[in-house]
């Protein structure tokens, strides 16, 4: 390494890849990235503490606000956890509706990502086109739930709104349209030279590194690790429907794009099956205000990977503790492996390729009240805590 050409470039908290703030300290040798320090903590909102001060019923609306894109999977996992504590089983129709909304959410989240990926490599046509197609899903979600963002569909004990016959027919026609577009985008991402020149062999995350940095979701699946929780630990009625787990093993940005797009074809398949299997029935069951003492965990497959909830009740109507771990917290560390040896110009697309969501992620920040200094938790600090 030549000392004259080596320098450190601070990137962020306001940075070019995404609108959400995070701070990357990049050590460069010329234009090549040597190392990267990841600094989180700019979106810390104290949600876990706020959850303890509200009742279980009120919490579900606060939890929805953790992330704007994957709001449904957050409430779904939370409701699953509380239903486990209450030891109740929700009606079958409610389970199918939850699955449909969760898969629609995956559709719009990944299509948003496809647009972002196009935008980051300077191919705005992909961005505009995929967001136009995403609009079909957004309108569908608005028709089902009454809002484009923050659907408020899941509630403890079931779902709040039904899917009528006309609506089901509408969903089916839109899924057909989406399938055609998705096949087109897969073609674009695999064959279009404008895209492949930027995405092939960039941001390599080998299978070994993916395990080492504990990557989850599409990032891990793009490195050949099978880790789809809908298959590995089926929740709701995912074991009743037939779908494939998509893995790809080229380990680069293109691989992540292909995994996401092919996954969506499976999502439309799941939605059609759910609409077919859905029987008439109740939507909710009555549940008490207070939750019996106990603790539980619950997890689900969010669009970005595994989402994890820990809930502990002390027998009152407010939770004693709710701990949330979102997929970006697991995925962000793999950036270190992906970015090493890459060109600086490729940084935005590589950072975007893990589909980071920082408002979900920021949960651990230590604040020294005497000095006012805050610091993020790192491995060395955690080791000092070990006894």
């Amino acid at each position: 390494m030549n000392e004259d050409t080596c320098y450190t470039l601070p990137l962020g908290p306001q940075h070019p890849a995404l609108i959400e703030p995070e701070y990357l300290k990049i050590h460069l040798d010329g234009e090549t990235i040597v190392n990267v320090d990841i600094n989180l903590g700019y979106m810390h909102r104290g949600i876990e503490k706020a959850l303890q001060q509200r009742t279980y019923q009120q919490d579900q609306f606060l939890i929805e606000k953790i992330c704007g894109i994957c709001s449904s999977i957050h409430t779904l996992t939370y409701c699953n956890a509380i239903e486990k504590l209450l030891e109740v089983d929700i009606p079958e129709r409610a389970k199918y509706i939850r699955m449909i909304v969760a898969e629609l959410e995956r559709l719009h989240s990944h299509m948003l990502w496809v647009g972002i990926a196009g935008y980051e490599i300077g191919f705005d046509t992909v961005f505009h086109m995929s967001w136009r197609d995403r609009e079909l899903v957004m309108e569908l979600l608005e028709n089902i739930s009454g809002k484009r963002v923050g659907y408020s569909m899941n509630t403890i004990g079931g779902v709040r709104r039904d899917i009528s016959k006309d609506m089901a027919e509408n969903i089916r026609t839109i899924m057909d349209k989406i399938d055609i577009r998705l096949n087109h985008y897969i073609n674009v991402f695999v064959k279009d030279s404008t895209i492949t020149k930027r995405t092939k062999n960039t941001g390599i995350l080998t299978q070994k590194d993916a395990i080492k940095y504990s990557a989850v979701g599409p990032v891990a699946r793009a490195s050949g690790i099978s880790c789809d929780l809908r298959k590995k630990a089926p929740y709701l009625l995912y074991d009743n429907v037939d779908f494939k787990e998509i893995t790809h093993n080229t380990n680069d940005v293109e691989s992540r794009a292909v995994v996401r797009l092919k996954e969506l074809l499976e999502s439309t398949k799941i939605i059609r099956q759910c609409l077919h299997l859905m029987q008439k029935g109740e939507l909710t069951i009555k549940i008490p205000d207070t939750v019996p003492e106990g603790e539980t965990i619950s997890h689900g497959e969010a669009p970005r990977g595994e989402i994890f909830y820990y809930a502990r009740s002390d027998g009152t109507d407010k939770p004693y503790r709710i701990k949330i771990r979102t997929p970006t917290l697991s995925n962000i560390h793999s950036l270190q492996a992906m970015l090493k040896g890459q060109q600086l110009a490729d940084l935005p697309i590589i950072v975007a390729s893990i589909d980071p969501c920082f408002s979900c992620t920021d949960r651990i920040t230590l604040l020294n009240t005497r000095t006012g200094m805050s610091k993020s938790v790192d491995a060395t600090y955690l080791k000092t805590l070990k006894r």
Binding site: R54, Q57, Q58, F61, L62, K65, F123, T125, V126, M129, R132, E135, E139, E142, N143, S145, G146, K147, G150, S152, R160, R161, H184, N187, V188, K191, D192, S193, T194
Partner: protein, 107 residues
């Protein structure tokens, strides 16, 4: 050049965007917009105030007082779900921006 077909198609199709303030999209059935409150039907039971997750509804039964602050509201529609007389409905109005605080209060 796989996107070329899209680009050419776009030249001959009409824009997908709408000229928003001039043309307004019809809101779907069950849309969660500004509340429509029917004072005649209300029995001031206070269930909506109890259900509200952000405590934006205030009810005093004896004085027949009911008030909602839209600036705090998150439009979750729980108040609509619990209302026994259905005097409170979430309507289709979504353009509620204003520079006066009074405009956000529904009485």
């Amino acid at each position: 050049m796989k996107m070329l077909s899209d680009i050419i198609k776009n030249l001959v199709t009409k824009p997908s965007t709408e000229k928003y303030p001039y043309t307004k999209k019809k809101t779907p059935k069950g849309f969660r917009g500004k509340h429509e409150y029917d004072r005649e039907k209300c029995i001031y039971c206070g269930l909506c105030a109890k259900a509200c997750p952000v405590h934006t509804i205030g009810v005093i039964r004896d004085k027949k007082f009911w008030q909602l602050d839209l600036s705090k509201c998150i439009f979750c529609a729980r108040c609509q779900d619990v209302c026994p007389t259905k005097c409170l409905q979430l309507g289709n109005e979504f353009e509620i921006a204003s520079d006066k605080k009074e405009d956000f209060i529904i009485k």
